[in-house]
Symmetry: C2
Subunit: 235 residues, 2 copies
Amino acid sequence: MTDSITLYGHPVSPYVRKVLIAFAFKGMKPDVIIPVSPFIADDGFKKISPLKRIPVLQIGDFILPDSTAICEYIDEAYSGEKCYPGDVTLRAKARWFEEYADDHIARNAVFGLFFEKIIKPALLKQETNMDTVNTTLTEKLPDIMSYLELQLQNADYLLGEKPFMADFAVASFFVNAGFAGWLPDAALWPKTTAYLKRISANPHYASVTEFGTKALKCRRAELEELIQAYISPDK
Amino acid sequence: MTDSITLYGHPVSPYVRKVLIAFAFKGMKPDVIIPVSPFIADDGFKKISPLKRIPVLQIGDFILPDSTAICEYIDEAYSGEKCYPGDVTLRAKARWFEEYADDHIARNAVFGLFFEKIIKPALLKQETNMDTVNTTLTEKLPDIMSYLELQLQNADYLLGEKPFMADFAVASFFVNAGFAGWLPDAALWPKTTAYLKRISANPHYASVTEFGTKALKCRRAELEELIQAYISPDK
């Protein structure tokens, strides 16, 4: 008997989405999704996630925190479409772009905007820091968009003509900025705006993002049903 | 003609040390080391390192920021001893531990201690924040040591009987805590203290760390000579 695959993490999280996309590349879904929110997780969660971050993958007694480690594990452990390039140099660049997304885009698109405008008032009953929001909108996100605009050159995706996890990571963090009302400006960043639109149309990405958007809007009591419908749509 | 290998980053940096260790595993050294310090780098450096971080690897027009992406690239591009485990599950765990070191141990051992006690007064002419230092010493580092103590179980290293990049990353950040006067307490964390000592004795690690320690202590005018002596000891 094979151990079941459990994923801890709320589907609204862009990091959780990365892992669901990696599974989608393999034609897989986790057997169980436990929608932990890191902002309200108790200290018991530190037993499987020492930094209280999501997602965490558990397969039997193999426990793996960190979205990037999980995505690379899925890519290496299961057959199916590849989420990382086969070429050594391209794979190195892919890792850099994914790190840039996980760390820097997340810090701004997610923590500077989505966290301030959605999580703080709705979940934590705290006030939004408007200085943080303004700096994010007028300085940080424009810097990031300009960087991506330069990187894209004339290719469809960051690593060439095929999308990889780095692209989905980049786009996934902007989805949460979108939850907070941000939209890319096609006049200022035409390539990056077209790029984000192109990724949105990817079927793996689209189904996972739709699930995340529904999870944002649903009532807490409906979340379990939504998760079951995602995991087993035919039931 | 092969493109020369240039590494940007000051040898005192634990992230730079990681890359020098990865090269050492392959019996290699960079052809050129440019000792950039991220704390005083100008905006021009952002052209090759968008987040103004070190190290950056440059080989011809291939430019790669991020120590982990660089170490994995070196491991995959060059023959020699492996710095990452071959087994998929162990490699996934190795990536998690390296991320834990790069992010969390660094935030405390390097930024909470080394940066506060050494870089701020000596390089930036700023005052040490003693609250940060005290929290690091009484809470943060003890938490990290306790986590490592649990992870080590009865093996010599985090992934078993052989040291990999994850182990060198962990130890490398503690070296900078050591520059700021911190020492592990063998009575509280016997396994982790013995583990750090074991890594210190590894010849690849020891030669790179010795170079970093000399770089910390040397005058600015002597640094170039020290780098040349490291790269070409026989000249």
